[in-house]
Each structure stands twice: as structure tokens, then as C-alpha cells.
Symmetry: C2
Subunit: 247 residues, 2 copies
DNA sequence: ACGCTCCAGGTTGTCTGACAACTAGCGGCA
DNA sequence: TGCCGCTAGTTGTCAGACAACCTGGAGCGT
């Protein structure tokens, strides 16, 4: 499955694993490019391309004439720049992910959903509402919308803890990336009831639009997270490099 | 100054400019690698390395045998993955950034600051507190801490709207990246007073640790943003690629 | 007229080899 | 002892070649 990726992507993935597993610790110097390439029986150019990817991700930094070094960065929990699902999010805390109060139906698209999915307002779209639980405790109230001709309400329901992403993937709609907007908020009456908290409880809301590599928006989601359930982190690059602000 | 960067970084920067300025629109196909390289009188491998960087950043996507295409992604406002200062943040909304209630002093490091800066608890550190305004309206309450032997309280004050980053840079401490944690919150009495809002007002708090490329933590900051002042967005990669969850 | 196959050109992916630019440490020399 | 310069090692760039793959059109058969 991962062999379908190009060679440099596989090599990059292997290097990420070495760093993530601790075999390469922060500050360590990587073996030289020719050495890394020879070990794996690939050309230096492919190895070099893989290292370039990791450099861009901020995992390593190169010093001309000296070597390539693993950068110091803490192990991130719930890195916002990665598009994981809520299940993985819960699982990463060591708790058991579950689903409650799942409903799936055809609804008239709310304005912001219609706009994001690029369909006329009021178009019928598939909606999936779920309350996600961690060890049985409700922690996230999620709503997903997608075009009815992409996934029907029936296909959306019964996923269990399965990801909507994989369901879309089976229809040839591979989610390439998403754009998320983060806002704080207080629980309204309905959300409070669904999450079993007091009305006005503190929430972190993530509105997200997922799209394919062709730029087709295929999934809109709104997640209300209990404030004390998770801590979201993100690595912010610059201003050392690429600090320019255009326009 | 940008010529000190390696060639592929310059080429990548030029390509980013082409995309950002709209000369290359989403969905457009880039000229072929040999063509791009020939136009700029560089080798294909350097051009290719630059494109690899943009691919990793998500600006373009390559299709084997077909070409390289500009990905469709909205212009992001306040992209969290970029480490801009609060001044740039305010300026990007078209409002005039300002500073109020600036105080700078030597304080005993709070536990989480001491831990982040890797100094013993209670060590004296420089603290800079500022209320940032947009067209005169208070919108962000920020506090910065750094080691006293890096920047004294006197050096921290009087920056005007200048960035703490540039002050650190003049001491050879170039901030390479930061790690931010995002949490929702309600204004306590003091923050409410400083921001001139009701106690309990909705806030988005960003705790951040900035470090050099060597991994030395040089700056800790805590920003309380008024909930309705800004919308923070972030591009989330995957699960199309690199969706694996390790451990 | 329509649909299918096959082919040729174009593009990205990978390989090989070479040299330039730069770093860091070691040893000789004053 | 302290400085200089050299050398081995590493990353940066170049050049050329071929493989793998996609796309559109020509040509053919129905």
C-alpha cells in the first residue's frame, strides 16, 4: 500500500520513523547522503529528495559542508497540521474512542456548507452527526456534511468508528488536505445536552473543509471539543526562514 | 540577503511568489521542469529540489507523466503554521496596530516558563507585558518571557511595535520555529480589565515556545486573543499522504 | 459516424558520475 | 603556545541518460 508512493516518499517515511522512534535523537547527525543511499541501495538523488522533504517539514536541518542534523522539537500531541480523525485523536490520549447519538440524514445545506461544497444553497446534502466519546465520556460533538451524490446518508451511517475519509476514498475521493478554522465558544443548549455539560461550557470549535488534490471540496465538518479534553498544538515556522508577509 | 540562501531556496521563493501573486493560478499546470530550469539557467536537479519543497508545503502537486499543478487552496488569513508577530496579525486585517499598557520588569519565572526556558524555578527572567490594539481597540493581551542574560527588561521595553524577534536576532538568537498550544478560555478579572471587556469574556489563548535551530528555547509567550477579533486557520495535511499514526 | 486500439510525444521519477563550495579538525610551523 | 594552512568529509549543483507513466490523436474496424 505504501509502496504505491514514489520512492522518495517511502524513504522520507522511513526517516520520519527513525526520528519518531528515537533511533535518531534531536541534535544527532545523520549519516552522510551517500552512506544513507548506499545502505538502501538507492541513488543519492532519491535519498537527497527525501531529506529535502524532511527539511521542509522541519524535522532536520542541513549545514553545507558539515552534515544534516535532527532538529530539536518536542514530540507534538495532536499536531493541528496533520489531518487525523477524531478517533485517532482520542486514541492518542490512551482512551477508548466510541460513538454515541449517531444520526444520519438528508438535509438542506446550511449556507456555509453550501458555499464550501460549491452547491446552491438549500441543496440536499448528506449529514452525519455524532457524539464522540473517550472511555464513554462525551468529548466531541461532530457534524459532517458531504454531497449526496458523493456519499448517501446510508453510506455515512454505520461507519462505526471508521473514518469518513476511508468511505470517501472508496468512491475515488481521496482527501488531500483540509483547511481548518479555530474559534473558541460556549455551548448552546443543544450542544450542552449532547455533550452532557452545563450550558455555556467552554468549547473549542474546529470548522474544516477537506478537499482532494484537484481542489474539489468533498467534506465539511464542524467539531465542538470540550475545552479540557484535548490540547492542540502546532509548529509555527519562521521567522528564521520564510518570514516574509506578502501583499 | 536572500542570496545567502541556497539556490533551491531562492528558486522555491520565486515560485511561491508566482503562485501568491496569481501569475500561477490554482489548477494551472507549471511549465515542465527542464523548461523552468532552462529559463533560469539552472540545472534541472536544482529546479526539481525547489519544486519538491513547494510540493511538501502543499502549494503544488505532481502527477507522474503528466505535469506539476498548482493546488487549489484558499488564501489563508492568519495561518497558524506561520510564526508572525501580533503586529503583522493586526495589520493583515487592515487595522492599525498599536501598543498600550506596556510594562517590562525582572520577575521570578513561573513554573511553566522556567521549564520551557530550561532554567531553575524562580530564576529571574525578563518579562514584557503588552496590550495590543487594533485601531485603538484592545484585542490581545500578551506576555513574553526570556532569559535575563539574553535580553534585559530594558532591552525588551521600548521596542514600540517592533518585534521581540528582531531584538533577539541582534543578539545572535535567531528564532527558527515555535511550538504553540491553543486553548479556549474565559477572561479572568485582570485580563478583562486590561482588554476592557466583561469578566468571563471569550478568549483564545496561544501559549508558545520559540526556539533556535539548535533547539535552544529563547522565548516563551502567552497571548490572550479576544474571540471575535481574529479567525485563525491552518492547513491540515493528509490523510492522502503521511496519514500513519505511529507508536 | 462511432468506438476502439495503438502509438508517439511529453513529463515526471530515478540513476550515475562528477565537480564546486564549504566545514571542521588536525598537524606543522613560527 | 598560538596561529596558519591543509586535508578529508559533507552538502550543493551540474550534466546527461534512461525508465515509468500519462495524454491525446491517428488510424482502423465496425
Amino acid at each position: 500500500m505504501s509502496s504505491s508512493q514514489s520512492l522518495r516518499h517511502q524513504l522520507a517515511q522511513e526517516l520520519r520513523g527513525l526520528i519518531h522512534s528515537g533511533k535518531l535523537a534531536p541534535g544527532d547527525k545523520l549519516p552522510s547522503e551517500p552512506e544513507l543511499a548506499h545502505e538502501r541501495a538507492v541513488s543519492r538523488s532519491s535519498m537527497r529528495a527525501a531529506i529535502t522533504m524532511l527539511e521542509e517539514e522541519g524535522f532536520v536541518s542541513r549545514r553545507h559542508g558539515s552534515g544534516t542534523y535532527v532538529t530539536h522539537r518536542p514530540a507534538l500531541r495532536n499536531d493541528l497540521s496533520r489531518n487525523f480523525g477524531v478517533s485517532s485523536l482520542i486514541a492518542s490520549t490512551g482512551l477508548e474512542p466510541g460513538t454515541a447519538a449517531e444520526t444520519s440524514e438528508l438535509v438542506s445545506a446550511p449556507p456555509f456548507v453550501a458555499h464550501a461544497l460549491e452547491v446552491p444553497e438549500g441543496t440536499a446534502v448528506s449529514e452525519l452527526r455524532r457524539v464522540r466519546t473517550a472511555d464513554g465520556r462525551p468529548v466531541v460533538d461532530t457534524t459532517d456534511w458531504c454531497r449526496a451524490d458523493h456519499l448517501s446518508p446510508e453510506e455515512l451511517s454505520g461507519l462505526g468508528v471508521g473514518s469518513v475519509y476511508s468511505a470517501l476514498g472508496e468512491h475515488g475521493l481521496v482527501v488531500h488536505h483540509g483547511v481548518a478554522t479555530i474559534t473558541p465558544g460556549n455551548a448552546d443548549a443543544e450542544t450542552a445536552r449532547r455533550l452532557d455539560v452545563a450550558r455555556g461550557a467552554l468549547l473549542l470549535t474546529i470548522d474544516q473543509v477537506d478537499m482532494t488534490s484537484e481542489g474539489v471540496s468533498v467534506l465539511v465538518s464542524r467539531e465542538h471539543h470540550l475545552a479540557d479534553a484535548f490540547a492542540f498544538t502546532v509548529v509555527r515556522h519562521g521567522p528564521g526562514v520564510a518570514a516574509e508577509v506578502h501583499r
